[in-house]
Symmetry: C2
Subunit: 325 residues, 2 copies
């Protein structure tokens, strides 16, 4: 740790979600010293959003000793471009869906500190490398299993941003080239359509409609079934629900076998709601991977679940990209 | 360029192939000053192979002014592991197929200079970055279309070796998950089974046997058809042969669309025998890629053919990894 960091012991992390914007002030050991939040969409335009953010932030900045204790700010946001510090055409943000928003510069100007921004999955990967199970790893792949499937890839100790800042969209690699499920991206067969939380619910509905197998899930209206329901049923031993997790894990293992051929990571780290299923998901992933991966990669990669607390992990991840500034 | 490089203006490159081992002494602009070669398999064991190599090398080292003019040596070899400088279980090398050969150390000891070793596709990528069309690029993917399909991936200006030194096996990502062609690696549906020189010949045989379409290739015994024959027929306007290239290019474009989701490269650089087909191959690749790639990556990556002379490219590539030592 250098002299500057000793003088400025904190970074701000902003987890910018479609609903809430959660801010945390974090020290170098990943301890969140103060936190606050605002509604992301409660503002007409981005100027008002940033003003409201800074107003809320000022209270917690004062709590930790003022802006002079803050080294930098990191933002994890949908469609975040690390190179420009912009949010680009984010479909779920009322003030960000039809253009390029220079959010990092706007915060930097208001706060007077350096600000970095990247997408949420990349932030999660840096968070895991800085504070979590990937500490000390130079090569790993973070896969976030939430509403969608996101990814952050670390190679030689650095996040892979690619030529344009948008690298690491493994949720949109094609896992089924024939009769693949339609994806929100306009294409078919993306990994995300099978292995996200919505993908899991979709798989459950498919299994229910194509068999007569009894299942606790038959008590529900099919369109109401969520991945949480599938997980609850699986934990009660529901065979159909268990098969849904096996199917999902098998497909993730298949995908990871291809990802290994790319960057031969030391570990795959999984994060997000679906990982709460634990071994129900992780065992099929590893089994499928072992069966399919190229021989030279067999028995090498570890399969890990994020060690960061779900509710604070996104803020920690965002804060982590601030340390490099 | 630093003082040391001014004093030692050359590196040795060794293209270690299954048949020939070609050595070149190369300057920083990629000019080959002297060259020699020996048979790779003409020796009982690796000690004798190295002794014969050094003996042949001594003549050309003397030609350029002695060993004091040589900064380092780079080796491109099948199953080469950059981290250890070893060749590991290389099936096609009589003295290297059943173990781990510390070839870099052996040459370093005999020559008294640093020696680096990597696989041939990685060496080609570094060569392209040092002397070829990828000069100045920080993010690109090199795809070699020879007997097999190899790859070298550059991210943030560095080659991706992964956790074990074996990253970048894109020829063994699965492009057909159902009814895929059997691959030499023991699995099915690898990109290599379709898009290598042998894959192209295989496609031609398939097209011939599943249609009555007239073709110049029908004059040949199917098992004798090579990718060169397909290319000659295509250049004479043979429709079936043209379809073989379209099929091959379409599949490569499909694969590249997935690779973009990984590292979003500035360019894909193709190298090897098949690229002699020129636009016959490159146009279908790009068309298929444009149609399939995720929207945010559209119209970004360039599709290039290596600018290095085929016969010297492998030696140049090998030499290039020496500059970093």
């Amino acid at each position: 740790m250098n002299a500057q960091q000793e003088i400025k012991p904190y970074v701000i992390g902003l987890d910018l979600g479609g609903t809430n914007s959660v801010f945390g002030i974090v020290d170098s050991r990943g301890e969140i010293k103060a936190t606050t939040s605002i509604k992301t969409q409660g503002y007409d335009n981005v100027e008002n959003y940033v003003s409201a953010s800074v107003e809320a932030l000022q209270l917690i900045i004062d709590q930790v000793g003022g802006i002079d204790t803050i080294k930098a700010m990191g933002i994890g946001a949908p469609n975040g471009n690390y190179y420009n510090g912009t949010i680009e055409f984010a479909p779920n943000l009322s003030w960000g869906h039809d253009g390029v928003v220079p959010l990092a510069d706007m915060f930097a100007e208001k706060l007077g500190i350096p600000v970095a921004l990247t997408n949420d999955a990349n932030a999660a990967a840096v968070g895991e490398m800085t504070y979590g199970v990937a500490r000390g790893m130079k090569n790993f792949i973070m896969i976030t299993l939430g509403t969608g499937v996101g990814s952050g890839i670390v190679v030689n100790g650095q996040l892979v941003y690619g030529s344009d800042g948008f690298a690491g969209e493994l949720g949109h690699t094609i896992i089924r080239r024939e009769n693949g499920r339609p994806c929100g991206c306009g294409r078919k067969g993306c990994l995300e359509t099978y292995c996200s939380a919505t993908g899991v619910a979709r798989t459950a509905r498919e299994f229910l409609s194509t068999s007569d197998e009894p299942s606790l899930l038959r008590d529900m209206k099919p369109s109401d079934i969520t991945s949480l329901d599938v997980s609850l049923a699986a934990n009660q031993g529901d065979k159909l629900a268990l098969r849904v997790y096996e199917f999902t894990g098998e497909m993730l293992g298949e995908a990871c076998a291809d990802f290994a051929a790319f960057s031969s990571p030391e570990a795959f780290v999984f994060f997000g709601g679906l990982t709460k299923a634990g071994d129900l998901l992780m065992k099929p992933i590893q089994k499928s991977y072992d069966k399919r991966v190229l021989k030279i990669f067999q028995n090498k990669a570890k399969f890990l679940v994020s060690s960061l607390d779900g509710s604070s992990a996104a803020v920690l991840g965002a804060s982590a990209i601030g340390w490099d500034l």
